[in-house]
């Protein structure tokens, strides 16, 4: 009887199966969902991803060329100006007897694939393990933090942007030094939420939000965004803080992969906000934040420090001579 019913109503049976499977996937735990997604991507969609990268390279050449020409001109002017400032910076540091900061490298990369979803939670870039890009590396643009590398193959890497629920960032209000965890909440517009901030803390609309460096996933001081709205949660215990990201995730074409010599290193001045000197940096004890608040829930273990910059990387550091800094340094000043 059941067989007859199924035979007569095949279309409804297919619908029930499809909806049942969809619901089953939706109610899975997050890590199980990730496992299923990983399996499907690696078994079925590998060739498609490669084709997607090729297509974007082919189609984007004209636009990229125009964009890069303009950018090159602007950067040349900025580089000349920065050369003088770098020398001045070195002289002043010497005068103040400040310690040299650790060098870091930035690997420029192009976006070759995008999320099929309208929210754009992931990207594919054209640099991989061969260029020193590994899982967990921070991804930046001159505007601020983009996200982190989720996984890397030899010549490509997949990026989780901040608009992905698996990409949480230890963040700090720059003005009041209040710590929290920045995470996108599914179902809203492309805005972020700063969580685990007590209702007693000093946070106002318009405050800048930067990475705190806690958890060693992202270096401290990278611009994340601006506080758009502050309210209290229904219990009145915690603040609900909405943050507008500094980066426009929809129009990303070139990004920078941060390769630290040590993750506690310094920050590129254009990307990272000015960090107060140690004597001035008195972090406000934040919220009754849980101990996990400093790392992403599913954050991978931070990779070991890179022994040396990858080939083609833009290496920087106060101690480095000016000649060692490429003119393609995307306009970032020496820390």
């Amino acid at each position: 009887m059941l067989r007859n019913l199924l035979a007569r109503r095949t279309d409804w049976t297919v619908l029930v199966i499809a909806c049942g499977l969809s619901f089953s996937l939706m109610v899975l735990e997050r890590h199980e969902q990730a496992r299923v997604a990983w399996f499907i991507q690696h078994t079925l969609l590998g060739p498609f991803e490669a084709a997607m990268g090729w297509m974007d390279s082919a189609v984007g050449v004209y636009w990229d060329n125009q964009h890069l020409r303009q950018r090159l001109t602007r950067l040349q002017i900025e580089t000349d100006a920065l050369h003088g400032e770098r020398q001045e910076n070195a002289r002043l540091r010497q005068l103040l007897k400040l310690e040299e900061r650790h060098p870091y490298s930035l690997v420029a990369s192009s976006v070759v694939g995008r999320s099929l979803d309208r929210l754009g939670g992931s990207l594919t870039i054209d640099k991989g393990i061969a260029d020193g890009v590994e899982a967990g590396r921070a991804i930046l643009t001159p505007d601020g933090l983009v996200g982190r590398v989720e996984r890397a193959t030899q010549h490509q890497a997949r990026i989780l942007t901040l608009l992905h629920r698996d990409c949480a960032v230890a963040a700090r209000i720059d003005r009041s030094r209040v710590d929290g965890v920045m995470q996108w909440e599914f179902g809203t517009q492309p805005v972020l939420n700063l969580r685990y901030v007590s209702s007693q803390e000093d946070v106002k609309a318009g405050d800048l939000v930067v990475t705190s460096g806690l958890g060693d996933m992202f270096p401290a001081g990278i611009r994340i965004g601006t506080v758009a709205r502050v309210s209290l949660d229904p219990n009145g215990l915690m603040k609900e803080i909405t943050v507008r990201p500094a980066v426009n995730f929809r129009s990303l074409e070139e990004i920078l992969v941060y390769l630290p010599s040590t993750l506690r290193g310094s920050a590129p001045a254009d990307l990272f906000l000015e960090q107060p000197e140690p004597t001035a940096a008195v972090p406000t004890p934040s919220a009754p934040a849980p101990s996990t608040s400093t790392t992403a829930p599913s954050a991978p273990v931070p990779p070991p420090p890179a022994a040396k910059p990858a080939p083609g990387a833009i290496t920087k550091g106060v101690g480095a001579p000016p000649e060692s800094v490429s003119s393609e340094s995307t306009g970032m000043a020496t820390p």
Partner: protein, 161 residues
């Protein structure tokens, strides 16, 4: 076979070119349009199964829960096939209505789940995201259909399925 090739082209276009067509944060969703086409031309089984597969592929890249796009697209594939059984697919007005309404229906399911039942958020998303996306996508799809049909001198969406 032809549907597979069309799907591959649509997926590549969606991942690489469509973001360049964004207007005020709104970009066309060619994947829903493909599911509508599949359901309309190939019937409820192909529409539902195709919608599920396309949605699942989209879910793999999406920041939201796995299965949400699969669910909404399976339903749309099925509903379009059932509703569009005896209509004139070659009529431009019918095409517009089907693609537009199907896009809206898809987003009703999508945002109903993604807003977790918050009516205020749901209405905002429908008004500011779903409606303009449906209009934009429908316009783009009708343009593509017209272009392809005039070049190939045949109908992609024929009255005889």
């Amino acid at each position: 076979m032809r549907d597979g090739i069309v799907l591959a082209i649509v997926l590549i276009l969606q991942a690489t070119v469509v973001y360049r067509m964004e207007i005020a944060g709104i970009r066309p969703d060619l994947l829903v349009a493909f599911v509508v086409y599949l359901g309309w031309m190939r019937g409820p089984i192909a529409g539902t199964a195709g919608g599920f597969i396309v949605g699942l592929i989209q879910d793999l890249d999406a920041p939201g829960p796995l299965g949400l796009n699969a669910l909404s697209k399976s339903l749309i594939g099925f509903l379009v096939a059932k509703a569009g059984f005896r209509v004139h697919r070659s009529n431009i007005g019918v095409r517009f209505a089907f693609f537009f309404v199907a896009m809206l229906m898809h987003d009703v399911v999508y945002f109903a789940v993604s807003t977790s039942g918050d009516l205020g958020k749901f209405i905002v998303q429908m008004f500011f995201v779903a409606l303009p996306t449906a209009l934009y996508t429908t316009a783009i799809v009708l343009l593509i259909l017209t272009l392809v049909e005039s070049v190939s001198k045949g109908l992609l969406l024929t009255d005889e399925a």
